[in-house]
């Protein structure tokens, strides 16, 4: 195996670890008291591993070479630029506590390298991108948070109606909330498996690209998927517990019925997107779903935090594109 290919695999594996470390899916389980942190982290890690193993293929193949135009020859330097820019932006964002989407970073990076490729080869830039595929991905990005928002409103409406009949006294309220704890647990399982599949695809997309280009033998595909899944699980168990604990304790006084609507909506949309192969941002969907359910209860989200989050989402794409373009250009000059 080529040294460059080996470096690429290592970078993809490191990226998987980073993705797992930033996974906050189990936070709701902890904040609603369904599971203790240590069990939630272990459970989440196993589910993410299963998601990577069984649900990553469709999304992974979309994120890989298929985003580039047919004229572009997808090479190792391009992959390295994508991996480095995504990992770098992930680290910077994590350091400044700004939540970003790994998927947005990866696709932004693909834009960056395609731009450099067009300049370097003197080709038309519009030929460097598979616009149909990119359009599908963009529609997924726009539609998924909107669906998350609307789904949460509907779910909240149903839950509120249900709670009206079940809130005759504090004991009854607590019994209903305990019942909701188990339902949350079921939806979080769907969400964690789906996110394991959807998010790990960002790392696996590169590996699928290498397999398609013949740099990696088809035989070791499953082994690599297992390694990526294992790293995803390790990231979640070793570092992810901090994110989960942080979010889980921040929302410490949340009632299970408060987070159930958002959880139902987010988990179903992420699951659907993963099964149909759309790379979506789990964080964006979950946050829009939380806003939807909060609006339904007459709560306005904190404007300052919301503005900060949205601006970071808009920044991710151009920053990742610029970073990957700079890294790819540097690699071209170095070699």
């Amino acid at each position: 195996m080529d040294l460059v290919v080996l470096i690429l695999i290592i970078l993809a594996v490191v990226l998987a670890f980073g993705i797992g470390a930033n996974d906050e899916t189990m936070a709701n389980v902890v904040s609603s008291g369904s599971l203790k942190l240590k069990y939630a982290v272990l459970f989440g890690g196993v589910l993410a591993f299963l998601g990577c193993l069984f649900l990553s293929a469709n999304v992974g193949k979309t994120i890989g070479k298929s985003l580039l135009g047919s004229e572009v020859s997808y090479n190792s330097f391009m992959m390295m630029a994508i991996l480095l820019s995504t990992s770098f932006w992930l680290i910077i964002s994590s350091k400044t506590s700004v939540p970003i989407s790994t998927t947005h970073s990866v696709v932004g990076s693909v834009f960056g390298i395609s731009f450099v490729w067009a300049i370097a080869t003197g080709q038309n830039y519009f030929l460097s991108i598979n616009w149909i595929k990119m359009g599908e991905v963009a529609i997924g990005w726009v539609l998924s948070p909107i669906l998350g928002f609307c789904g949460a409103i509907i779910a909240q409406l149903i839950i509120t109606r249900f709670m009206k009949y079940r809130s005759s006294g504090l004991i009854q309220v607590e019994k209903t909330e305990k019942f909701f704890q188990y339902i949350i647990l079921a939806f979080v399982c769907i969400n964690q498996i789906s996110r394991g599949g959807n998010d790990s695809a960002n790392a696996l997309g590169i590996i699928y690209g290498l397999i398609k280009s013949g740099d990696i033998a088809q035989d070791i595909e499953v082994i690599l998927i297992i390694i990526v899944g294992f790293m995803l699980m390790a990231g979640l168990i070793i570092i992810g517990k901090n994110v989960i604990e942080n979010i889980g304790t921040t929302a410490g006084k949340m009632r299970p019925s408060d987070s159930l609507a958002a959880e139902i909506s987010a988990s179903l949309i992420i699951f659907g997107a993963t099964v149909f192969g759309f790379p979506v941002s789990g964080s964006h969907i979950l946050i829009f779903a939380l806003i939807g359910s909060a609006r339904m209860k007459g709560i306005t989200p904190d404007k300052k935090s919301f503005r900060r989050m949205v601006s970071s989402w808009f920044l991710t794409f151009p920053v990742a594109a610029i970073l990957s373009a700079v890294i790819y250009t540097s690699l071209l000059f170095l070699v």
Partner: protein, 224 residues
């Protein structure tokens, strides 16, 4: 040996937990009614100049307060177990704290009565007995409100509103009592004693009303 004693203490703990936390709250709520009733009986005995009854009911009030303290400790001990949900713990804590506060105030009234033997003033005694009748009603209503908040928000809401209405009568009686007291102008120690006594009784009832208001707030929070 150590292992055996640990096993025994675990068994004891499990046995103790056979009493539902819910039942502890009901028992604590009943203590409010009992303590206020004993407090009222002490006042009535004072008005009837029956010192042995004063002593008897004072001791019973103090004993009830101590029992309520033990219950409070048991509730706090079990507050952070899986019997309760995280979101309702502050509210359960609020309920148990307020129960303790009302009973503490009732104890304060009987302690005050035990500190001095005033001269008998019939006009004031009549008003005091009238006050105890209303206080007893408030004690019973408060107990019912606490019990109902766990099972029936609507009933608890109605009971809490009733407490608010009845408390106004106590306030009126307090002013009448003070007016009469300053008109009669007894000896300074008697004046001070009666002035203090009516104020502490009013404070006890105010605490009960404040508690009822708090329960109304809880109902607003939980009832959709």
């Amino acid at each position: 040996m150590l292992h055996k004693s640990k096993k025994n203490s675990n068994k004891k703990e499990k046995k103790n937990h056979k009493v539902k936390m819910q039942d502890l709250f009901i028992e604590a709520a009943e203590k409010i009614e009992i303590a206020i009733n004993y407090m009222c009986e002490t006042i009535v005995a004072l008005c009837n100049e029956n010192l042995s009854e004063v002593k008897k009911y004072s001791n019973l009030t103090i004993k009830t307060e101590k029992e309520a303290d033990r219950l409070y400790e048991q509730i706090i001990e079990r507050m952070y177990s899986r019997e309760t949900l995280v979101f309702s713990r502050p509210d359960r804590l609020y309920l148990s704290n307020q129960i303790e506060k009302v009973i503490d105030k009732a104890e304060l009234v009987v302690r005050r009565i035990g500190s001095y033997k005033p001269s008998h003033i019939p006009e004031l005694a009549d008003l005091l007995i009238e006050t105890t009748n209303i206080s007893k009603q408030i004690g019973t209503l408060l107990k019912e409100t606490i019990i109902k908040v766990f099972t029936d928000f609507d009933a608890a809401d109605n009971l809490a509103n009733k407490i608010e209405d009845i408390r106004r009568e106590i306030r009126k009686l307090e002013w009448d009592f003070l007016k009469k007291l300053y008109k009669i102008k007894p000896d300074f120690p008697d004046l001070l004693f009666y002035d203090n006594l009516i104020q502490i009784i009013a404070i006890t009832i105010d605490k009960a009303e404040e508690f009822a208001d708090g329960i109304n707030g809880l109902i607003c929070k939980y009832r959709l």
